[in-house]
């Protein structure tokens, strides 16, 4: 079966990382390179630090290095059920530069075999998870969506936080100090919508960490580490691991001189010299020249690239690329080019489907959607898109695994939303791998 051995191999590779999930924050998660999915931010019950379950006051809030409490409000009520306040919890709401935290005496009893998030406690929400912050005053029937730098003229009685992960969290301020309530609403709105990505907590955390220890941000050097594919050697090792002998690491993009969106080092067919690449780059959208992702031991490779700009050179360059990739195949066999723009939904369509899914799952009333649940779910098209991605990935796998033919993924949308395209392209190699 395709990939079974590789999967097992990967499992083995991941194991040491799981083992290092000890208390302390250095084993935290970093972005992972292609083919290395999964995160290990869960901590097994055995390794949980004791004493965290008892009643806590703000001063006792568990803070990460570099984390600061910005604002807090006491006697806040967290709403648990929508139809009754019988299960509501009282506690202190606070906002740090990393998370929104709710400290309560009422902690869910810790169960055997249950895993606990290492970074976030039961009632914590990371600021980056917040999608929308809404302040409400029942008496005045006012409701305001809070932007990053807004004023709030009314006294909020309720704060509703809509999260990216489909949660809606409600806090009530009936018994808390109105000023502190108003302030914490604004602070949460401000900190969850940073104007500059450099204000994200990760940077403060990394600074603190690098001062703190000689081990570097990425944890102690002992044992296995996730390759970040930022260095020449990471790619070189990957070529050797997969046995892609007809491919080489190119430094043509050192200091991002060729393309600002490609990494500094990447893998190209051995038959293309750096000079060739420089010459080809301008004819690709975003100068995103073909870049190797993965190699099957039988010889076929998975390659990704942007569309070639229309013009006189299009055909010539296209042929050149195909030839070079075919040359890197031990059997010099043909290449299958997959036009992702044609076979997959557009980024905006996927986004719209997610919005519809969210609407269905968290906004629409339960009773109404229950009756027509299946057709409503179908109408969001989310599952259809998931199916298309899987189906297409499976087809590409067939080309490589059954026919031993190299595959090129080609698409054009990355310029619009670089991030989304990374996700979109990231999907296919993941499944092929």
């Amino acid at each position: 079966r395709p990939g079974t051995d590789r999967d097992r191999e990967r499992e083995r590779e991941r194991e040491p990382a799981m083992m290092s999930g000890r208390p302390g924050l250095r084993s935290s998660v970093r972005a992972v390179g292609p083919g290395f999915a999964g995160s290990n931010c869960c901590l097994s019950p055995q390794s949980c630090s004791p004493g965290r379950a008892g009643p806590r006051r703000p001063s006792e809030a568990a803070l990460l290095p570099g984390e600061l409490v910005v604002s807090e409000s006491s006697n806040v009520r967290k709403c648990i059920a929508t139809d009754t306040c019988a299960h509501d919890l009282y506690g202190t709401l606070l906002c740090t530069n990393f998370k929104i935290s709710f400290l309560t005496n009422n902690v869910t009893p810790f169960q055997k075999c249950q895993y606990r998030n290492l970074l976030l406690a039961e009632h914590d929400v990371a600021l980056t998870c917040v999608e929308q912050v809404v302040a409400v005053n029942d008496a005045k029937k006012k409701r305001k969506v809070l932007g990053p730098t807004q004023h709030l003229k009314f006294k909020p009685t309720e704060l509703i936080i809509y999260c990216k992960d489909f949660r809606i969290i409600r806090f009530r301020f009936d018994e808390s100090d109105p000023e502190s309530a108003r302030k914490i609403c604004l602070v949460i709105a401000h900190y969850s919508q940073p104007k500059d990505l450099r204000l994200l907590f990760g940077f403060a955390f990394a600074r603190e960490q690098s001062q703190d220890s000689a081990d570097g941000v990425n944890g102690p050097d002992s044992g296995w580490q996730t390759p970040l594919f930022e260095t020449y050697s990471d790619w070189d090792r990957e070529i050797k691991r997969t046995g892609a002998s007809e491919w080489r690491v190119s430094s043509v993009n050192e200091n991002y001189t060729t393309s600002t969106s490609l990494p500094e080092y990447f893998v190209v067919p051995s038959s293309l010299a750096d000079e060739d690449l420089k010459q080809l780059a301008p004819s690709f959208n975003g100068a995103r020249i073909p870049m190797w992702c993965w190699h099957h031991w039988t010889g076929c490779a998975l390659v990704r690239m942007a569309n070639i700009k229309p013009g006189m050179q299009l055909r010539k360059h296209d042929r050149r690329i195909l030839q070079a990739i075919a040359q890197s195949h031990p059997e010099k066999s043909g290449v299958f080019k997959s036009d992702l723009d044609k076979s997959l939904p557009r980024v905006l369509e996927v986004q719209a489907a997610l919005v519809r899914l969210k609407q269905l799952c968290i906004h629409d009333s339960f009773e109404e959607t229950e009756e027509k649940w299946l057709s409503s779910l179908e109408n969001t098209r989310w599952l259809e898109y998931v199916r298309l991605f899987l189906k297409h990935s499976a087809e590409l796998t067939q080309w490589m695994y059954n026919k031993n033919i190299s595959v090129i993924l080609q698409g054009k949308l990355y310029i619009v939303v670089v991030n989304s395209v990374w996700n979109r392209w990231g999907l296919a190699p993941e499944f092929v791998g």
Partner: protein
């Protein structure tokens, strides 16, 4: 030497790969066989390969499994057929053989081959050997055989037979227009697939297979009542054999549990006021709060609104027996409209004025005709092809999952009344053998962890379905050619689907696995075992099923490993599944199992499960040893080997499965 390979024999590897290796690399495509690894329940693959290639090896493995082998002499026709490669059970004979038949496979195209019809199965074997296609269908699953095409029809493969099956598939065969082969195949199929219509007997009576477990001993009503603590300490309930000769109620079992203060005479009067004489009798009693589940049929109220003082008093005694609450809840499984409509035919429901201290709840579960229609629509969208576009809305329009939801939701209400409300519950529908059986058995599964073990589940089926007279013969139409009979309905299948939904939501709470459920459904139709034949205990004892047939539980319990869930952890808490469309799934491994594109890669998973079971055994043994060491030194406290909490706390899927 016996040529029949004993079922479950240890040595020959059952996997297709091993068989292929033994036959010199020839790939064997086990076409249309149960996708869930059921193929090793059939002896043919290993037999054939070893017979051809390594006779010595075959002998060795046959002798090493003496335990399973049968001492019954095998008839000459059996031996003859064996040489022709048809797998046969002891007692099974080849009745006809048709050559040059084309099996029109919906997935892999037409295959030419030979069809054998025995008294148990239809067996097709392709002429082509690489890949070889075989088709092995118990005749019991056939609901209809039709001729397609006439002498004048042209076009390739347009002349032949279309076979409609009860297990979500159709089979089509093309035959030559010349000769009498179609007539002969049609007649033989009709004769042996519908033995009751053609004056023959079920194969179960001819089946001579033997198992080393006796499944007929699985359920003993007295034992089961004892397990439930009956008769109870306070003497509120008594066990009676008033129905010994099926005179009180001909569709009830001989032994019943009734309120102690109701006299035999009272019982007769109450029975007279209930449809088909199915008076309220105890089904289950809560070990702690003594709340009970009582089942019966509808009261005979009729248009005139008749009342029975005896019935009212009897229901009140049931209410009083509880002692903790003043209320009794009556669950009428039907939609209220249907309950009212039943008055026209003499039935009805318990009115407020007559039964003042009971609350009546309608559970809105539709009748057998609605369920049959729903399954028919489901079959339309899953066989032979599955349309990808608009799949979910097509599924929704069958309403199959919606009906599942109502059945589950009803059972949850019953379980909750007993566990949280400490109320007793009286359950009925119209006759108390379809929806009532679904509700009581599902509620019992939620309340009592015993029924979640493999043997407990067998007891549950024996008790709530078989002994209380679910009309299997009529609902399934065993051996009857009348395929359009309006009394047929997939009520039991619906129940098994609900159980499957529960196993999905509580993956560690059940001792049995999916293969177990599929096997039960396969033999619901196969007529190989006596278990699901006939409609009630009276008929079964008349036919001497226990003496003359093998029980399905004998077959299953002789090979328990195959049906065991490696993740099972005993948990005595009450299970509350979520009965919401959001949490119900279509049981693809059952309903779409004939489509090879939907077949999940089961074999490696099954293999892994088996390995896990071995590891689990070893660990439990080690734990036991350590405990013995502990207790002998007396140094360390006793360690319990299960995570069972001492007090039963209800559990919802989320709290159980959160990691």
């Amino acid at each position: 030497p016996t040529l029949t390979f004993p079922r479950g024999a240890a040595a020959p590897a059952p996997s297709a790969a091993a068989a292929a290796a033994a036959t010199g690399g020839r790939a064997v495509v086990e076409e249309e066989e149960a996708a869930l690894g059921l193929r090793d329940s059939q002896p043919h693959t290993p037999v054939r390969s070893f017979e051809h290639q390594k006779p010595g090896l075959k002998m060795a493995s046959a002798s090493s499994s003496m335990v399973y082998s049968t001492s019954t002499p095998i008839s000459s026709s059996t031996i003859k057929a064996q040489t022709e490669d048809v797998p046969l059970l002891p007692g099974e004979d080849v009745k006809s053989k048709e050559k040059d038949v084309i099996y029109i496979c919906h997935f892999n195209g037409p295959k030419k081959g030979v069809v054998y019809i025995t008294n148990y199965r239809l067996y097709f074997k392709s002429v082509e050997l690489d890949p070889m296609t075989t088709l092995d269908v118990p005749l019991g699953v056939i609901s209809r055989v039709e001729k397609i095409g006439g002498q004048s029809s042209r076009g390739e493969n347009s002349y032949g037979l279309e076979i409609t099956c009860k297990d979500m598939r159709n089979l089509r065969f093309a035959l030559k227009q010349e000769g009498r082969s179609r007539k002969s195949m049609f007649e033989n199929l009709t004769k042996h697939a519908f033995p009751i219509s053609s004056g023959l007997q079920f194969f179960a009576f001819e089946n001579k297979e033997t198992c080393y477990e006796d499944g007929w001993k699985v359920y003993d009503p007295i034992e089961e009542f004892k397990r439930l603590g009956l008769p109870d300490e306070k003497r509120k309930w008594r066990i009676t054999n008033i129905n010994q000769n099926y005179e009180l109620c001909d569709t009830y079992p001989p032994i019943l549990v009734v309120p102690a203060s109701a006299s035999d005479d009272d019982l007769r009067k109450v029975a007279a006021f209930r449809s088909k004489g199915r008076l309220p009798v105890l089904s289950w009693i809560h070990p702690d709060n003594q709340a009970v589940i009582v089942r019966c049929s509808q009261p005979l109220v009729g248009m005139s609104g008749k009342r029975s003082k005896d019935d009212e008093k009897y229901v009140d005694i049931i209410r009083e027996s509880n002692g903790q609450t003043q209320k009794l809840t009556i669950f009428d499984a039907r939609p209220s409209v249907n309950a009212v409509a039943n008055k026209a035919t003499g039935g009805g429901y318990e009115g407020d004025d007559a039964y003042q201290r009971a609350e009546l709840i309608f559970l809105d579960i539709h009748n057998i005709h609605v369920m049959r229609e729903s399954l028919r629509k489901l079959k339309d969208i899953v066989y032979p092809s599955v349309e990808e576009s608009h799949w979910l809305s097509s599924l929704e329009s069958t309403h199959w999952l919606e009906h599942i939801k109502f059945v589950l939701a009803g059972a949850i209400q019953v379980a909750d009344k007993l566990a949280s409300g400490k109320n007793s519950a009286l359950i009925h529908c119209s006759d108390g053998w379809d929806r009532t059986a679904q509700l009581t058995s599902l509620a019992l599964l939620m309340l009592d962890s015993f029924y979640r073990t493999t043997k407990g589940f067998e007891v549950l089926i024996e008790k709530e379905w078989l002994s209380f007279g679910h009309k299997f013969a009529t609902r399934i139409g065993h051996g009857d050619k009348n395929h359009a009979d309006a009394d047929r309905s997939p009520i039991f299948l619906q129940f098994i689907d609900c159980v499957w939904q529960m196993t999905k939501q509580f993956p560690t709470a059940f001792q049995f696995n999916e293969v177990f459920l599929v096997t039960i459904l396969d033999h619901l139709y196969s007529c190989r075992f006596g278990t699901f034949l006939y409609t009630c205990e009276q008929q079964r004892s008349k036919e001497e099923l226990r003496k003359r047939t093998v029980s399905l539980w004998s077959f299953i319990n002789s090979e328990m490993d195959k049906y065991t869930n490696p993740f099972y952890t005993k948990d005595q808490r009450v299970l509350y599944p979520v009965a919401s469309m959001r949490h119900l799934d279509l049981w693809v491994n059952y309903y779409i199992r004939w489509n090879p594109w939907f077949r999940q890669q089961q074999d490696p998973v099954q293999q892994r499960y088996k390995e896990l079971l071995v590891v689990r055994e070893q660990l439990l043994k080690k734990l036991e040893e350590l405990q013995i060491m502990d207790s002998s030194t007396g140094m360390l406290p006793h360690v319990s080997n299960s995570s069972t909490p001492s007090s039963p706390v209800p559990v919802s899927p989320r709290s159980q499965t959160t990691l």
